[in-house]
């Protein structure tokens, strides 16, 4: 199952994004929208349908290779950005940093974590994994605090540190 993490700064600029494919077995029925529709209807629109239903494993005939990947990516980013509205609504009243699932989109659930300095970590995921996601967010937060202690760090520019990337990936592997 794939997880998408976005780190978004208070100016709504995404600073960091990570797509992580988890190899853990997922419990519960995971039926994709595409598999429930009859096959004759999915063949023509299978690309869009697959993207909207969040399934990344459907491979339609048609445009080669990268076409499918790009569609998915745009939808995922659109979902993450749309959820920012929901986050900001909740942010005013909710006093916790870890906001559990704030938005749903077909099968994707959006969980968020807001740091004290108003940086938002948005995670798109399909399976439910509250505890693992919470621990993951805490570790990303710790790595982020260490990253921004750098006097040359600027919170308007994207995060390009390979060490930060490596640590977030390792943390994802451990918890997701």
């Amino acid at each position: 199952m794939s997880y998408h993490l976005f780190i978004i700064n208070p100016f709504d600029t995404p600073l960091y994004s990570l797509t992580y494919l988890s190899t853990r077995p997922v419990s519960g029925p995971t039926s994709t929208l595409a598999s429930q529709l009859p096959s004759w209807s999915t063949s023509a629109f299978s690309g869009t349908v697959a993207a909207l239903s969040g399934a990344t494993s459907v491979k339609p005939p048609g445009p080669p290779g990268t076409g499918q990947g790009k569609e998915d990516r745009h939808v995922v980013m659109m979902i993450a950005n749309a959820s920012l509205d929901a986050i900001e609504d909740v942010q005013k009243t909710n006093g916790s940093m870890y906001l559990k699932a704030i938005d749903r989109f077909n099968e994707w659930t959006v969980s968020a974590f807001i740091t004290p300095a108003n940086m938002k970590f948005v995670l798109l995921h399909e399976p439910k994994n509250d505890e693992g996601i919470r621990l993951f967010f805490m570790e990303v937060w710790e790595n982020y605090v260490k990253l921004q202690l750098n006097p040359f760090h600027n919170y308007r520019t994207p995060i390009r540190s390979p060490i930060f990337d490596g640590r977030v990936r390792a943390s994802a592997k451990k918890h997701l």
């Binding site: 942010q91 005013k92 009243t93 909710n94 006093g95 916790s96 940093m97 870890y98 807001i114 740091t115 004290p116 300095a117 108003n118 805490m138 937060w141 710790e142 790595n143 982020y144 605090v145 260490k146 921004q148 202690l149 750098n150 006097p151 919170y155 060490i163 930060f164 640590r167």
Partner: protein, 237 residues
Amino acid sequence: MAYNNVHPRLSVFSTGSQSSLDYIPTAGTPPPGSGGRQSATPIPKAGPSKGIYDRPLNKTRNAEVSAAAYAFLFSEMIQYTQKRVHGIGDLEKRLSLLGYRIGTRTLELMMWRNEGASKNPKRETRLLPVLYVVHTQLWKAIFGKTADAIEKSVENDDEYMIIDNDPPITKYISIPKEMSQLSCSALTAGIVEALLDGLGFPARVTAHSVPKEGFPLRTTILIKLDRSVMEREEALK
């Protein structure tokens, strides 16, 4: 130096006396009575390098910086800024900007140290708790003591004041008579402004010197909150 009978496990940097050849160094223990830095300490292995990501954040939690070293650094900062500005207002603005950069980092670090271990970390969303955070936790984290008073202005309902009787950072600064409006606590004001901004309470924060008998360096940090904050507070009441 007798290269022929140098013990194979002795460091090649060793210029110790002949007697040190008798001593077989075990890892990490310096040989007794050998000279200074060139004694037979083992060459550090090229292991994984310790970057900032490996250091635990709580390591320097209670560490203190010597006031003298800090005063030195601060005086350099002020001199640097003073050369590049045309007036007191500009100088205070620049110091405030430097303080802002410190404040964003301090906010995250302070909150992480306070909440990083808890199961459900919380942020403050209401005004009064946030002001208390500034008054107690921020001052404790930076200066090691809490601020002396927190007051609400009677004329304007969007103004609050944090009073420090003896701000440590300006302790060794003497301000000439013609610049008596200047308060180098503008740095502290910048830190407070960054903290309020981060928590979602945009404000204009300035520092003013209000000497009282017994406390010649008494400083007030004046916080003037944005309209949007006051409206939000009204709505949430």
